[in-house]
């Protein structure tokens, strides 16, 4: 069954969410790929996984204002959250602010959003950054919006556990402060990952290929789940799940 890169990344994230310790995943604004994976996994787990999408109202349970999602995470009620970065370095520090010598930045990006808090309190943060280049994956970020690890003694029940890109899946070991390559997506190679990553990371002797999206899950994405996602991200569904319609035609 043919699929595109977005569908593959949704499948990779969905596998990360299908974990008995994950009861509640929250997805920030403008994150259709994590959002799709969350709604897919909610369906696959028969609703055991709660998915809150902080964008629009359709899957947004919160009724106590903008701070509720952060308070909820602080209470330990959110198990997975997604963060990205203009830059991400090998110690999982993320930069959402700008490149260059802060405050005299060369290029300003929007800002840190909730990262400097959520990265600390959500047990399983998934770093999600499709663009896998040395521009993104740098030796050291120019500005730490949120640090990948903390000194002993700092209250930190949460932190990064995985990194999903268009090329591969990595895990992160906070004790070693290092990423580890877990699998390379079909059609890509370890060399390609190495060439496009500006920091060192662990490579096991045998790097498996990322499993392709399960056909039944692709079907769900393109039909019932796609319809739910379209309520939140209509443009995304039209663009990404459109091939299905063509296939069917």
């Amino acid at each position: 069954m043919s699929y595109n890169t977005e569908e593959l990344m949704i499948a990779v994230i969905a596998r990360l969410l299908d974990d008995p310790e994950v009861r509640h995943v929250a997805v920030g604004a403008a994150s259709p790929i994590p959002g799709s994976a969350a709604l897919l996994t909610r369906h696959l787990t028969g609703g055991r996984l709660r998915a809150s999408i902080i964008h629009g109202l359709a899957n947004n349970p919160f009724t106590d204002g903008g701070r509720e999602v952060f308070d909820c995470a602080g209470q330990g009620r959110i198990d997975v959250f997604f963060l990205g970065g203009v830059q991400i370095d090998g110690e999982a520090n993320i930069n959402l602010v700008g490149t260059g010598d802060y405050p005299a930045v060369d290029k300003r990006f929007p800002g840190s959003f909730g990262s400097a808090y959520m990265y600390f309190v959500v047990p399983k943060v998934i770093l999600f950054r499709p663009e896998h280049t040395r521009r993104v994956f740098v030796p050291k970020v120019d500005f730490i919006s949120a640090p990948g690890t903390s000194e002993p003694g700092v209250y930190r029940p949460g932190g990064p556990k995985a990194l999903v890109t268009e090329l591969c899946l990595m895990s992160f070991d906070a004790a070693k402060k290092r990423f580890r390559l877990e699998s390379v997506h079909p059609g890509h190679t370890v060399e390609e990952v190495l060439d496009n990553t500006g920091f060192d990371f662990d490579i096991p002797e045998n790097v498996p290929m990322t499993p392709e999206p399960e056909p039944d899950r692709l079907d769900l994405l393109r039909t019932s789940i796609g319809a739910q996602i379209a309520e939140i991200y209509p443009d995304f569904v039209a663009r990404v799940f459109a091939p299905k319609t063509e296939d069917a035609a």
Binding site: A30, F62, G65, F70, G74, R108, P110, Y155
Partner: protein, 275 residues
């Protein structure tokens, strides 16, 4: 009621140098007030985005109304980076106080409670914290092994400015589930409100409506402004004017383009007012 007035009269209350707080794009931004503030040429605003800025912040910065901005981010969302914000920061022409969403909420809660600071977990090791000499990290003051924690000074804006779908003639304001507006109004010395519609029915009279309302106790001024969020949307009431928003995002990439857009944008307003 003496707080019921015109948008321009509301804007006239905002003195140069004021600390002005505005909500995020989906939380009822008063673009009517943004236009009125730019028209009246307000200067040196300290703009607090609660917690994220978008079109309103970008326009006010582009128009030279802002000297300091405190925010967790400024972005035009699906329409891309905020061009005048980016240019101003890159040129160093505005001061930016970096923050993160829950820190802005927490500092407003401190303002709401009348306490000098609020503790917040996280933050430690972030360059946001390193850049904020007003934030302070202390060792667990309870002495219970909770580790170091950041204390954020209270924020008490001079003015909260937003656009509500409904208000009543007594100045009570319906904000539905946009409850970030509640601590914002409480923490602010005065809230200046534009409303889509002003009703004769008292919002406090029904439990159902009161549950989503802010009482007039906190409201320093109210004006009716139809489509007062446009070109942004008023979620649940009308969508954004995507065409205008996209045009802004494109034209505002240059100073000249921004000026051309704003001339027409403010002119439209004058034309609409003259109708």
């Amino acid at each position: 009621m003496n707080t019921y007035t015109s948008v321009d009269a509301l804007a006239a209350q905002v003195s140069d140098g004021a600390l002005v707080a505005m909500p995020a794009e989906q939380s009822y931004v008063s673009m009517a007030m943004v236009r009125a503030l730019i028209r009246r040429g307000v200067k040196d605003l300290h703009l607090l985005c609660v917690p994220i800025g978008s079109l309103a912040a970008d326009m006010l910065i582009g128009a030279g109304c802002v000297s300091t901005i405190e925010c967790a981010a400024v972005s035009l969302g699906e329409f891309g980076l905020a061009p005048r914000f980016g240019a101003a920061v890159e040129q160093g022409s505005i001061r930016i106080k970096e923050s993160t969403c829950p820190a802005i909420h927490a500092a407003l809660q401190a303002g709401e409670k009348g306490v000098p600071f609020m503790p917040l977990t996280g933050l430690i090791g972030s360059d946001i914290l390193a850049s904020r000499d007003d934030w302070k990290v202390v060792d667990d003051p309870l002495g219970e092994g909770n580790g170091p924690i950041a204390l954020l000074p209270a924020i008490r804006p001079d003015f909260a400015i937003f656009h509500a779908p409904l208000a009543d003639r007594d100045g009570n304001v319906w904000i539905s589930r946009r409850r970030e507006l509640v601590p914002l109004a409480h923490a602010s010395k005065s809230s200046l409100i534009t409303a889509e519609r002003v009703t004769d029915d008292n919002l406090g009279a029904s439990d159902t409506m009161a549950a989503g309302s802010i009482p007039n106790l906190y409201i320093g001024g109210l004006a009716e402004a139809r489509r007062g969020a446009r070109p942004l949307g008023l979620p649940g009431y009308y969508p954004a004017d995507a065409e205008t928003y996209r045009t802004y995002a494109r034209m505002a990439r240059t100073e000249e383009g921004f000026r051309a857009f704003m001339d027409e944008f403010l002119g439209d307003e004058l034309a609409a007012a003259a109708e």
